[in-house]
């Protein structure tokens, strides 16, 4: 089953930043409820955009969201101290966004994750910079899975982000990541694949059609979750349709429900 991580509670979004600055709980609660109703399996919470305010903003957001959350939160920050605070505030075991192989980040996150029961997004980024080939991505994914397994995080709790890069800068970037995902899933059948999609279309016009088409290709390669806007009906419809086409929808049930509800249309 494809898992949707709702991306909307992010202070880099103008309206969210304003709501957080004004401590407008109603706005945040309304948005989270809508994401949940639209089928989000996790709600990502990122308070990083207001520099110097990240800790209080995160605390306020979790206090506001946790009472009405029907799904687990995805705690989105590079700061392990902040993540520790947030971790203690939630009831349902959260997803942690994220760890990478960049030395400083890795060294800070491993102690935080050791012994914790949670899911974790693992970025295929290391100090050498952006990955340059499918093999490069696979190598990084392997190091991440092995390092996380070592501290007790099971493979099925790991969500590898293969780092989607813009196709506008290099026409081979799509196939590079698609092949990487295939290789990662072949090597680690239990691992999940996730990430944001919008990078693929950076620098090109009509981005949404690119993102929607890309997600179907990624799903065929093995991507089984994504950080997206659940209130975007077209991308949600695309995901349901692709899920059905890939054999994950008994008697096309979800698809037909979507059509009858008016959320899927040609």
């Amino acid at each position: 089953m494809f898992e949707v991580i709702g991306e909307r509670i992010n202070t880099s979004r103008k309206n969210v930043q304003a709501a957080v600055a004004d401590r407008n709980a109603e706005y945040i609660i309304d948005d989270v409820k809508k994401q949940q109703a639209a089928g989000a399996h996790y709600i990502d919470v990122n308070a990083g955009a207001r520099i110097g305010h990240e800790v209080e903003d995160m605390r306020w957001l979790i206090n506001t969201i946790e009472p009405i959350a029907t799904v687990p939160l995805c705690l989105d920050s590079p700061d392990p101290a902040l993540l520790e605070m947030a971790f203690q505030m939630v009831n349902k075991s959260p997803m942690i966004n994220s760890i990478s192989l960049e030395k400083e980040r890795f060294d800070a996150m491993i102690p935080f994750l050791t012994g914790k029961e949670c899911k974790v997004i693992a970025l295929c980024m290391d100090d050498a910079g952006m990955p340059a080939s499918s093999d490069n991505i696979l190598g990084r994914a392997t190091r991440l899975v092995e390092a996380l397994n070592k501290i007790g995080i099971k493979t099925e709790n790991i969500y590898i982000d293969p780092l989607v890069q813009p196709i506008s800068t290099d026409i081979t970037k799509g196939v590079m990541v698609l092949n990487a995902v295939r290789a990662i899933k072949a090597k680690f059948p239990q691992v999940h694949i996730s990430g944001g999609l919008s990078n693929i279309s950076y620098g090109l016009p009509q981005r949404k059609v690119i993102n929607r088409t890309f997600i179907t290709l990624m799903m065929d390669s093995g991507m089984d979750s994504a950080i997206i806007d659940p209130l975007d009906p077209k991308i949600m419809a695309t995901i349901k349709t692709a899920d059905m086409l890939l054999g994950n929808d008994n008697f096309c049930g979800n698809y037909l429900r979507g059509v009858r509800a008016g959320t899927i249309e040609s």
Binding site: S12, G48, A49, I51, P78, E102, E104, M125, D127, G129, M130, Q165, P166, S168, T169, I171, Y202, G203, L204, P205
Partner: protein
């Protein structure tokens, strides 16, 4: 006689074959290489930069035009006269320490080079001391700092401060850029300029050199 308009148009339409044909024709007509470079090619890339700023041209097209530009510069550079420089100034560009993003930075570097500046693209994860060293070594008039993460934006301030402490502040103009960076932030940290995209960055750099 050279038809500089035809040259700029061909460059903007990303018609490499046509641009090279026009460049060679102009050279055969004894048009100075310096004029071809400035009035045919750099002028064309200025238009490309503006179109990029306006959303009329997109990254792949800009890359194509820059590639054509680069191929023409190879033809013209050896033909420039003594003392004629292909360069309007030295620019250092890098992503600040802790940040590994480079796509935008590379586009800016490419646009600035196409605009006639000598660009030293020193890479990603660059410490303040390294920026200072490079400014000295390359005798740079402009230094461009890139950051794509809110967590690495403070490093831009540290870099500006390091440049001040090294006594180089008056010798170099500092530009900042990257998705989360704003004019307000640029003003706050004491930079000389901010640009939201590669086209406007190149234009701003040119004006700072004058």
């Amino acid at each position: 006689m050279a038809d500089f308009n035809a040259m700029t148009e061909a460059l903007v339409s990303c018609d490499e074959a046509k641009v090279i044909q026009l460049v060679n024709a102009a050279l055969a007509d004894n048009v100075p290489a310096f004029d071809i470079l400035n009035r045919g090619l750099i002028a064309g890339m200025d238009i490309v930069g503006e179109k990029m700023e306006n959303g009329d041209m997109f990254i792949p097209e800009v890359l194509m035009a820059a590639q054509t530009m680069g191929n023409c510069v190879k033809i013209l550079k050896p033909l420039l006269k003594e003392g004629e420089s292909a360069s309007s100034g030295n620019v250092i560009i890098g992503t600040v320490k802790g940040d590994l993003h480079d796509i935008g930075k590379n586009l800016v570097a490419m646009m600035m080079e196409s605009a006639g500046m000598t660009v030293y693209n020193i890479g990603v994860d660059i410490a303040p001391e390294e920026f200072v060293k490079q400014i000295k070594d390359k005798d740079a008039q402009i230094v461009c700092l890139s950051a794509l993460l809110t967590t690495t934006m403070p490093m831009m301030k540290k870099t500006v401060d390091a440049i001040k402490e090294s006594g180089l502040r008056d010798k170099v103009k500092i530009m900042v850029g990257g998705a989360p960076v704003t004019q307000t932030f640029s003003d706050e940290i004491g930079a000389d300029g901010f640009a939201p995209d590669a086209g406007s960055a190149s234009k701003l750099a040119k004006s700072l050199l004058n």
